[in-house]
Amino acid sequence: MRMCDPPGSLERDPNVNFAYLDERTKRMIRRALLKAVCIPGHQVAFGSREMPLPYGWGTGGIQVTASILGPRDVLKVIDQGSDDTVNAVNIRRFFQRTAGVAVTTDTTRADIIQTRHRIPETPLREGQILVFQVPAPEPMQRLEPRQSETRKMHGLAEYGLMHVKLYEDIAHYGHIATTYDYPVLVNNRYVMSPSPIPKFDNPKLNMSPALQLFGAGREKRIYAVPPYTAVTSLAFDDHPFEVQRWESGCALCGSRASFLDEVLTDDHGGRMFVCSDSDYCTSRQGADVRSVISDGG
């Protein structure tokens, strides 16, 4: 169910190069991407350009998407798991306008999915590319803000600092207190930020059939996890990695397997839990609901 022609759909702007970026910039980013794929989890510095969207709002993801996108690709854009949050809409409109590509909300139909903060619940398949928007690519930035130092730690695989931080959590709280942007070890070599996805999504990174690309525009870094690559969440033998669980299922579709957002329903403490992944939730509720949403209505 492709949003072929939603009401008020955007014409491709003939005055802008395909997918906005100039060809030399795309080549530079493509070369960085090819090396990133060959060194899973390693942050490749690239000449990030100034995009017509603000830093921190997905400029890295947009540059990656613009460099890989072709006219026959079908694009999906999500923010917080949803296709209809304003930032996701804005980025989707940007590519409709600059590349004229088909867009969809359907995870299974998308060739490229640009995401902020979630991995879709629907399992990805071979051939799909997931593009993450990354605000802070350096997993140790909060512990050591100097890039000149963290670069050395990655080079020498000196990750003691990271383990000390996690262990201090355990000493203080009884367990690891990192709930999102939970660091992972890629291909048993590089410690990597999975971007601020909830740790609930971390297991989906491991041995994914899809190619996962990460773009950090402001920090000027690109990195990648090829398909079928081992990605493990950092943990200790006596404190294994665990994901969040909820006591009830989604109030709309009943799923007990998805990440739930808490919604306040009144000012007396009333609340409910619903799927963060709107496409997953609506597809479980039935085709009727879903088609209405896909019309952009």
């Binding site: 190069n17 395909f18 060809e23 030399r24 795309k26 080549r27 530079m28 493509r30 070369r31 960085a32 991407l33 090819l34 090396k35 990133a36 794929v37 060959c38 060194i39 899973p40 390693h42 490749v44 510095a45 460099s67 890989i68 996108l69 072709g70 006219p71 670069r151 050395k152 990655h154 080079g155 020498l156 291909n187 070599r189 590089y190 041995m207 059939p209 190619l211 996890v225 090829p226 398909p227 079928y228 690559t229 081992a230």
Partner: protein
Amino acid sequence: MSEQTLDLNLQEVGAAFSDPVLSSQAVFRAALAALSRPGRIQSVPHDAQQPPGATPAAAALLLALLDPDCTVWLAPRLAGGAVSAWLRFHTGCRIVSQPAAARFAWSDADQLPLLQQFALGSEFEPEISTTCVVQVKALDERCGWRLSGPGIPGRQRLAVAGLGAGFLAQWQANHNLFPRGIDVLLCAGQFLAALARTTAIEA
């Protein structure tokens, strides 16, 4: 700008892609798919006129990926022929004489120097290493080596015709350098398959 003067007859230089924007994108995606799934053969259809001595897939890769920011090393047979002028004319890349100074290399399989002679990157910037485009006689993913590593569920077969007998030992050394090391795109006709530095090969 390159200091090398472009000494060529425009009539003799074959044309590049008729649609440089979309063709470059399509060729790049084939390369991305190849390096994401080492050993899997990708097809690289395109309409550029490659110069004599160039394999269609190899010519398309370099045409799609290079620009004046890139250094390229050419193996002797390619450097001596029309390839050099064609590549410089269409991409503006700089040809260098030392493999270790090149971010890209283009060679026939029988003229490939020792892999350790290319740029291998540093511990801190392992991405500053050569990507080698190697023209081979044939590729077959139904038999041959058993590849494993990132991008490969289980084992991937790949037979490559034309590489020298010493290649496997050199590749093993390259693989052991990880995260440093080179990456290879093997081209036969309009097809390509890749070996990322993470790829382990069993004969």
